[in-house]
């Protein structure tokens, strides 16, 4: 079959368009919509449905089943009930992982959102060269956390590292950064904020460009200053963008792994840097404790699920859809 249908159809759009006006927006099945033929629906959606069942639905259920067992992959799984979950409660390293991940999320998410909102407001200008300036802020988005993590490790290196060179030049005491339990997490947060800044900024910029100019004009006529215009016009109108970037940042913050893996090498993350996903990786794929790792992944799922639900419920109070 060649490209005949399109040109032929384009030859007489009037008749067709009129004939089909009824179908639009009705939403219900109609013999004239593209296809209600089940075989075609199955054909187009087959891969997706198989993927959903095989790679999402079944594994989520299976993860819960596995979490109730003691399983090293070599011998048959042994049913232990909720023992893995109760063990987690007294597992020092897991609790540290949970604490670090929570700290990482609580700091990096709000910090990233505030910085990128400010950056988006600053970048929402048109003057010559602005495109190049934007590129500089966006490039970190595309770098792999592994490769750029190596670069940051070298920036943070106690001897020869750029940051310490800089501090010494300023007469400030150099630090051990990643090797220092106090500075390790803030150092990792700095990397993530640096890398993630562009993504939220782009979403905010798109949101800002959707604010009608008339609103600003009206506010100016009413005598509103720069801050009042931001507070009463811009901020309410970009709450949908804020809501969406917030959820993206929250979910990805709980999944922090790559930076921790790279910065802790050679060796393993200390109690100061281990995160939940690293803990799952370590227990599942280094120690082959499949049941224990699955239990932790369900705890992670539960936390993210509850936070997402709370966040979604909160949107009624602060998100304004136009």
């Amino acid at each position: 079959m060649s490209r005949t249908p399109a040109p032929a159809a384009l030859g007489r759009p009037g008749r067709i368009a009129l004939g089909l006006g009824r179908d639009r927006g009705a939403g219900g099945a109609s013999p004239r919509t593209i296809g209600s033929d089940r075989r075609w629906v199955a054909f187009f959606l087959g891969p997706t449905v198989i993927g959903l069942l095989l790679l999402s639905a079944a594994p989520i259920g299976a993860a819960f089943g596995i979490s109730l067992t003691d399983w090293d992959l070599l011998t048959a799984p042994k049913f232990v009930g909720l023992e893995n979950y109760t063990s987690l409660l007294s597992d020092h390293r897991f609790l540290m992982a949970l604490r670090n991940t929570t700290f990482y999320t609580l700091v990096s998410v709000p910090l990233g959102l505030v910085l990128s909102l400010g950056l988006a407001l600053a970048l929402d200008q048109s003057f010559r060269g602005i495109a190049w300036i934007r590129t500089a802020y966006f490039i970190p988005i595309v770098t792999s956390a592994t490769a750029i993590g190596l670069v940051w490790m070298w920036i943070y290196a106690p001897t020869g590292g750029l940051l310490n060179q800089f501090l010494v030049a300023l007469g400030i005491q150099p630090q051990r950064w990643i090797a220092d339990p106090f500075w390790a997490m803030p150092a990792i947060i700095a990397i993530s904020v640096w890398q993630g800044l562009g993504t939220s900024t782009i979403i905010f910029l798109a949101g800002l460009q959707g604010v009608p100019q008339e609103y600003y004009d009206a506010a100016s006529v009413d005598g509103a200053g720069r801050w009042r215009r931001f507070r009463n016009v811009t901020l309410p109108l970009i709450t949908p963008s804020l809501f969406f970037t917030g959820i993206l940042a929250l979910i990805s913050a709980f999944q922090i792994f790559d930076q921790v893996y790279v910065l802790a090498r050679p060796g393993k993350p200390t109690d100061a840097t281990i995160t939940v996903v690293y803990w799952i990786y370590e227990n599942g794929f280094n120690f082959f404790k499949m049941g224990y790792a699955s239990a932790a992944s369900w705890v992670l799922f539960g936390i993210v699920g509850v936070l997402t639900a709370i966040y979604f419920r909160s949107q009624r109070r602060w998100v304004h859809y136009q």
Binding site: F43, T48, V49, A63, L119, T143, I155, I203, Q255, Y281
Partner: protein
């Protein structure tokens, strides 16, 4: 007049701040490039913030051939192959699903779409162990393990089974295509496949480019999955290769920075060339969420 001058001054200050900020954002890249051209003695011995005495490109050569029996080129080609397969799989199957969601009517459509979107909030790690077990059960006579573990297939086969992000992105785009085009073709006897292939796909090229770029990037940058599934050095991607390299060559910063640069470069080049598609992809998925 004064107001215009004040405005110019304000833009001037803002531009200066933005440029300084942009340069600070670039510091890790400068530091990476500068270090990759230094000798090891220069890295530790010389004065702070010094530049290399000459471009020591041999660091790149040393990095390229650092591991026995395999060059960095192998990792590079592995990443390229896997990312290309992922991109092809995602573009085909996500666009097919998006076509069904945007143009067809069937029972359970909204429910299925909601379920698909819900998978966006599932942390990938939740399905890590079960998926590992799934690939361990799937037979593969050509692999030493007898199953899919240790092969590259688990890193790209999933891409041929759709995905929430791509389907959502393309559905938004497909919904904006006038239905009359498709309806007219249908009246002329075109099958849904022909409508999809010859009307929707050509019109959706910008959105397909966006999805292709993102799929490629996610695959190229992924560390966790290659770490779990790959066993043999020959099969490594650039990310695991780099992490492995790092474990072997502690303190060899010039070589490591050369390796980091080589593995970042393709994505940065792609970004600069196709920035439009990146920005649109992020903005589109963000705005309409």
């Amino acid at each position: 007049m004064t107001s215009a001058r004040r405005k110019r001054l304000r833009i001037g200050i803002l531009a200066t701040v933005l440029i300084v900020g942009g340069l600070i954002m670039m510091v890790p890249f400068f530091w990476m490039i500068v270090t990759s051209l230094k000798t090891r003695a220069e890295v530790f011995g010389s004065a702070p913030f010094s530049l290399p005495t000459g471009p020591h490109f041999d660091n790149y050569l040393k990095m390229w051939n650092a591991l026995p029996g395999v060059t960095f080129g192998t990792f590079f080609m592995n990443s390229l192959k896997i990312a290309t397969f992922v991109t092809i799989g995602q573009v085909i199957t996500c666009s097919m699903a998006a076509f069904a969601f945007a143009t067809m009517s069937f029972r359970g459509k909204n429910g299925l779409f909601a379920v698909l979107l819900a998978t966006l909030i599932i942390p990938y790690q939740v399905v890590l162990v079960p998926n590992f077990i799934l690939y361990r059960v799937l037979p593969n006579p050509t692999s030493p393990s007898g199953n899919w573990i240790g092969t590259q297939e688990p890193l790209w086969v999933w891409a041929f089974l759709g995905g929430a992000f791509g389907t959502f992105l393309l559905r938004q785009f497909f919904l904006a295509i006038p239905k009359e085009l498709a309806d007219a073709a249908r009246v002329d006897g075109a099958s849904p496949w022909q409508v999809y292939r010859h009307i929707y796909m050509p019109l959706a090229k910008p959105a397909l480019a966006t999805l292709a770029i993102f799929s490629f990037m996610w695959s190229w940058n992924d560390l966790l999955s290659p770490l779990i599934y790959l066993r043999d050095l020959q099969t490594y991607t650039t990310t695991v290769g780099l992490a492995f390299f790092q474990g072997q060559f502690v303190g060899k910063w010039p070589e490591m920075m050369a390796g980091a640069l080589v593995s970042i470069a393709p994505m940065v080049i792609l970004f600069v060339v196709a920035q439009r598609h990146f920005v649109r992809g992020i903005a589109l998925s963000g705005l309409k969420g």
